[in-house]
């Protein structure tokens, strides 16, 4: 697995509001946080974690860093991410919401060119139960086990993890890829990682209406994934947002998937059905479907 108790972790924006709340929680879970970065606060420390002004200073002092968790102001996220990539860090977890999408476009061009994995933004990050917490997942909801959980949401991911854990199904990893229109890693990337991960026996994909991530994931599952996948889609009954604007603006929105007109519940459900992926009709049904999938495997 890419992330383990041995991973050395940096927190950028450690004294920003999100960093203040989550850095201590990650540390309590046992995540090896080797340094924090907060511009103007170098040479201080936060909960015993040394704080630096620059990523390169942190690395020069504490040594190599495997993963950085970025939780600064949304307009500083691009810069923080580019700084981390320039310093040689290749795993980035972006928690903050409200990052301008064109900042993400710039970041992703750079990330692709440097083969950097970007998770998020607007994301709960990653938890490998019993090993490492890189984000906001409440640890009590999780337990080690065979389920790889991937999702676009925050609190709904926790909910599904809780239902799984209570039913006796622990998780090999849980990843929130982020709720924004433009996010780094996709469902397909994580499906492939989990397909190759020995600890994962079954994959749970938690989707929601809007966008085409679930449809793309369903196609990818049919083509490339042998492990069983169980899905859930939130928003069956949520009314679609009305599309404003000219005839043409509607066209552009349709082509580029700006609106929620594409990505209805029905379209996602049909895509999973075509890929023979069972879809739970409520979160509490997910453990039952996981149980069935595990029985088939063994």
């Amino acid at each position: 697995m890419l992330f383990s108790a041995a991973s050395r972790v940096l927190i950028q924006g450690i004294t920003d509001p999100l960093g203040k709340v989550y850095a201590p929680l990650m540390q309590q879970y046992g995540t090896q946080i080797v340094a924090g970065v907060a511009s103007g606060q170098g040479d201080t420390n936060f909960h015993g974690i040394p704080v630096f002004d620059l990523v390169e200073q942190a690395i020069a002092t504490v040594g190599q860093v495997d993963t950085t968790v970025i939780c600064g102001h949304p307009y500083m996220v691009l810069d923080a991410a580019l700084e981390a990539i320039a310093a040689g860090i290749r795993h980035l977890v972006l928690l903050t919401d409200g990052v301008p999408p064109l900042d993400m476009v710039r970041l992703l061009r750079k990330a692709e060119a440097t083969e950097t994995l970007v998770v998020g933004p607007n994301s709960p990050g990653i938890i490998v139960p019993g090993e490492i917490l890189l984000g906001t997942h409440p640890p009590d909801f999780y337990a080690p086990g065979p389920v790889g959980l991937i999702s676009r949401s925050g609190t709904l991911t926790y909910e599904v993890a809780l239902q799984l854990t209570q039913a006796g199904f622990g998780q090999s990893i849980a990843v929130g890829i982020g709720g924004d229109r433009i996010v780094g890693s996709s469902f397909q990337q994580w499906l492939q990682i989990l397909e190759e991960d020995e600890a994962t026996q079954v994959i749970v994909l938690v989707g929601e209406i809007g966008g085409d991530s679930e449809e793309n994931a369903a196609r990818y599952i049919a083509e490339a994934i042998d492990k069983p996948v169980v899905a859930y889609i939130a928003g069956r009954t949520a009314p679609l947002e009305p599309v404003m604007g000219h005839a043409g603006a509607i066209i552009a929105a349709l082509v580029a998937d700006l609106s929620t007109e594409i990505g209805t519940f029905e379209s996602k459900l049909a895509a999973f059905k075509a890929a023979q992926v069972p879809v739970a009709d409520r979160p509490s049904q997910i453990p039952d479907l996981v149980k069935k999938a595990l029985q088939k495997v063994s």
């Binding site: 920003d16 709340v21 919401d97 999408p101 909801f141 609190t155 043409g248 409520r282």
Partner: protein, 384 residues
């Protein structure tokens, strides 16, 4: 945020995209000081489409006709909106009309250039013929030329039209836009181009770093105006329906999942409110209790609500922290109408939370399905 046509055209002009001479009209008598020669066209400045069909665009030959037409347009609602401003513009005789747009594409996670030779109002019928170019690396004008050639343009028009696309892209990037559209881009018999109508959608997350766009935004009528509240607290999202169960959750997908479950159990939601998730720099998780309290206040104003179902999944704070906020709200609202509360909490220190709410005789459970069943049953009982 949507911009009005005249606001979009101001930005086009700053960027060097050709637009017609025009003037803003705030009241019919402004037409007496008109600096553009007749004949002109008067256009209603509203955020919706379909202006032409609705009668919001009129051609006039002189001041008398113009004043009468302006009066009519000011009193003409288009999809419920009355214009505060009209745009008076010179008339133009295009030989052909193109469609051009720059938009952010979610799947490729890149800007997308769109173009068609079939511009104008009927563009919806030719969506299949829309040409697309993904700007996968840093923009350079060849992307614009690639689009224009795909559209089937030849000769001198290639340079003229691709130069417009290039400027649209620069605007898109500079102002953090979700969409820039010109429809139609008129082409005259002499091969000159003119943006006859335009549409810009600014990205809400990036607005705060564009003071010029923020200023336009403050002129905009409140789109968040609702039946039960004037303006919502920051970071919240409310949708109003007509049932009897209010739904309050933290996080978008959790809210939708809860709504689905209420419907599935035969309940009728009155509304659903997302008080915000876990990843806001401005409203970090330790503000969740206060957001829940404000949310309860908002939902408490809806007289049609019999039950408010709270489904709060606590990450950064404990259940008891949220409960304190619920209790504070409950104690204050002891007189008059108050919907019954059904509270579902998941997270640490549930037992402490349970203790607090039991003392106030508020139903609280840990299991989501049970909370839904109880809320639906309460909404159907006569005593509630």
């Amino acid at each position: 945020m949507d911009l009005l046509e005249y606001q979009a055209k101001n930005l086009f002009q700053q960027m060097g995209i050709p637009v017609l001479p025009s003037q803003q009209i705030s009241q019919p008598k402004d037409l007496k000081g008109l600096k553009i020669p007749y004949p002109i066209v008067l256009k209603s400045q509203v955020y919706t489409g379909g202006r032409s069909k609705a009668g919001g665009i009129r051609f006039v030959e002189n001041t008398i006709d113009a004043v009468a037409a302006a009066q009519a347009i000011f009193h003409l609602p288009i999809m419920g909106q009355y214009p505060e401003v009209l745009l008076a513009e010179a008339r133009y005789q295009p030989e052909r009309e193109l469609y051009l747009a720059v938009v952010l594409d979610r799947s490729s996670r890149r800007p997308l250039l769109l173009g068609s030779q079939e511009g104008g109002v009927e563009v919806e019928s030719v969506v299949g013929q829309m040409q697309q170019v993904i700007v996968d690396q840093e923009f350079s004008p060849f992307y614009a030329r690639r689009l224009v050639l795909k559209m089937g343009l030849r000769g001198e028009l290639i340079q003229t039209v691709s130069s417009v696309v290039e400027k649209m892209y620069r605007l898109f990037l500079e102002k953090d836009l979700d969409l820039v559209e010109i429809n139609p881009l008129a082409v005259s018999a002499r091969g000159e181009v003119m943006a006859l109508d335009g549409k810009i959608i600014a990205n809400n997350d990036a607005l705060a770093r564009h003071p010029d766009l923020t200023a336009l935004c403050s002129q905009q009528p409140l789109s968040n105006r609702t039946r039960i509240t004037g303006a919502l607290p920051a970071g919240m999202n409310l949708v109003e329906l007509d049932g009897s169960i209010g739904i309050l959750c933290n996080g978008g997908a959790l809210t939708m999942a809860t709504l689905d479950l209420v419907y599935k159990a035969g309940g009728k939601p009155a509304n659903y409110l997302n008080v915000g998730g876990e990843f806001s720099h401005h409203l970090p998780p330790n503000t969740l209790p206060e957001r829940v309290r404000q949310g309860l206040e908002v939902l408490g104003r809806d007289r049609g609500t019999k039950v408010v179902l709270l489904n709060i999944v606590c990450g950064g704070v404990g259940c008891d922290d949220v409960t304190e906020a619920i209790a504070a709200h409950w104690r204050r609202r002891s007189v008059g109408h108050r919907p019954v509360l059904m509270v579902r909490l998941a997270g640490s220190r549930f037992d402490a939370a349970h203790e607090i709410l039991r003392g106030l005789e508020i139903g609280v459970v840990h299991d989501l399905d049970e909370a839904i069943a109880q809320a639906v049953s309460l909404s159907k009982s006569k005593v509630a």
